[in-house]
Amino acid sequence: MTEHIVLQNVYKTFSKKNHSETVALEDVSLSIKRGEFISLLGPSGCGKSTLLNIIAGLEKETSGQVLINGSPITGPGNDRIVVFQESGLFPWMTVLENVMYGLLIKKVPKEEAKMRAMNWIQKVHLGKFADRSPHELSGGMKQRVAIARALVMDPEILLMDEPFAALDEQTRMVLHQELETLWRETGKTVIFVTHNIREAVVLSDRIVLMKTRPGGIKNIFSVQAARPRNSSDSILNYLETRILSELEQEMEKVLKEELGSDYALKKDRLHIDPHNNLGSDI
């Protein structure tokens, strides 16, 4: 495996109206191997989505360097496709039209585009729904379409920005398995942004735990559990507890800032949340 994406001392600052600056990312260095499944995990405000947008080429780093296959990013391109939380399907197009649209823009002949799109629609098990409108699909089905729409472009890198955050737990578990299968079949490099510890642990090869204020990398965990992943694997459970305990400090920091210095986090009660979901609004 070779280095696919390399981030070197990446900084991102946003200037505010009163000329002060917010540091969204501070000194982020990371290298991601070809075919690796990486999660960016952390509470909101840790800059994980910003980092994803920089890799997608939608935002520009303030300083530092981001290399893909050894050359710096110049802008968005269809070697890197993002799957968003809200699937962002085009409601005026059918499922098939949604999936083939990117190919048509690339001037792929219509018949071929249709065939390739159908192939991916079948791979995400929506063969029967190719002619439906997005509104007729459930949330989970919409995300399947979004995944098919990204993969049909045959990108080298699949960027996923909390793609399953809006789904219910059952649907999410099914989609985890499917995503793992698709990833293993295609060998894409996946960067997966999430605030759900369980999700990160179940899916990833490595988990990049991020910190807030300033945003940056706090720690990196390797998940050395066998694939396909089994959610009852004790390695996964152990890792989950470890990550949660590291995150407690972060959560306390955020809560103190938001609620005032007299707030004391009751650490022993954190485990009540069955999904270890950090939430997006703590």
Binding site: A56, G57, L58, G75, P76, G77, N78, R80, I81, V82, F84, E86, G88, F90, P91, W92, Y101, G102, I105, K106, S133, H135, E136, M153
Partner: protein, 249 residues
């Protein structure tokens, strides 16, 4: 739902009856009875008296709507897409909004004569603005994530405009068209009021001179029906578009 339309119809009948009864105690010059108006209307339609006037007004409205609509949509899309144009032209747009456009009608008659051209220009002008304003806003409102996706797919600016910004703004654009359609009739009729011998607006002025109030009411009914047809057509277009998006109204 069914029940309300029955009530609505009953209310209509009730109002007609009141009108009919009240009109007995007034001169026909002031308030002609509905029965008289309907007779005049049917008579005028059958004898072909209305035909040329209807055709004239319809032509003015449709031509005005077409030119004003195409111009409003095109300029709206350009202003929505090109920030420079938007900033350059917006002061003028706001200023022109404040001008009562129908007050310009005499000027247009001066410029374009008493024929059809002046009415088409007035109609086009009043249709232009609502569509322009709605298009400018609608074009800018498309979802950021979808725009980013188009960027990643490598879509050109034109492709993004045609396949993303215009379809996602379509409801707003159609709402503008709905306003334009109603104003189009006002524009044409007012144009005919000021100068013209043909068309339903000119006919209203003529009936006033002839003191034929029943004929005036009949003309008003024709205008109302014409307006309703246009309005319902746009509503139908909106419904078709909604159906395509499959959103519940």
């Amino acid at each position: 739902m069914k029940k309300t339309s029955v009530y609505s119809f009953l209310l209509f009948i009730f109002l007609l009856v009141i009108w009919e009864v009240t009109s007995k105690s007034y001169s026909e010059l002031v308030l002609p009875a509905p029965s008289v108006i309907v007779l005049t209307l049917v008579d005028g339609l059958l004898s072909g008296y209305f035909t040329q006037h209807i055709q004239r007004t319809a032509a003015e409205v449709i031509l005005g709507l077409f030119f004003g609509g195409v111009a409003g949509f095109t300029v709206g899309v350009l202003m929505g897409e090109v920030a420079f144009l938007r900033k350059l032209l917006f002061p003028y747009i706001i200023a022109s909004q404040a001008v009562p456009k129908l007050a310009l009608a005499p000027l247009f008659i001066l410029w374009f004569g008493f024929g059809m051209t002046s009415k088409v220009v007035i109609t086009a002008l009043v249709c232009f603005f609502p569509l322009l304003e709605n298009t400018v806003t609608a074009i800018q409102l498309s979802d950021i994530q979808k725009q980013e996706l188009f960027k990643m797919l490598g879509a050109t600016r034109l492709q993004t405009l045609i396949h993303l910004k215009i379809p996602s703004g379509m409801l707003g654009i159609l709402a503008g068209l709905r306003v334009s359609v109603v104003l189009a009739i006002v524009g044409a009729v007012v144009g005919e009021f000021i100068g013209g011998s043909e068309g339903l607006g000119a006919l209203i002025i003529a009936t006033q001179a002839m003191m034929d109030t029943a004929l005036m009411f009949a003309t008003l009914i024709l205008l109302t029906i014409f307006g309703m047809i246009l309005y319902l057509t746009v509503s139908w277009l909106e419904k078709m578009w909604m159906k395509r998006l499959k959103k519940e109204i």
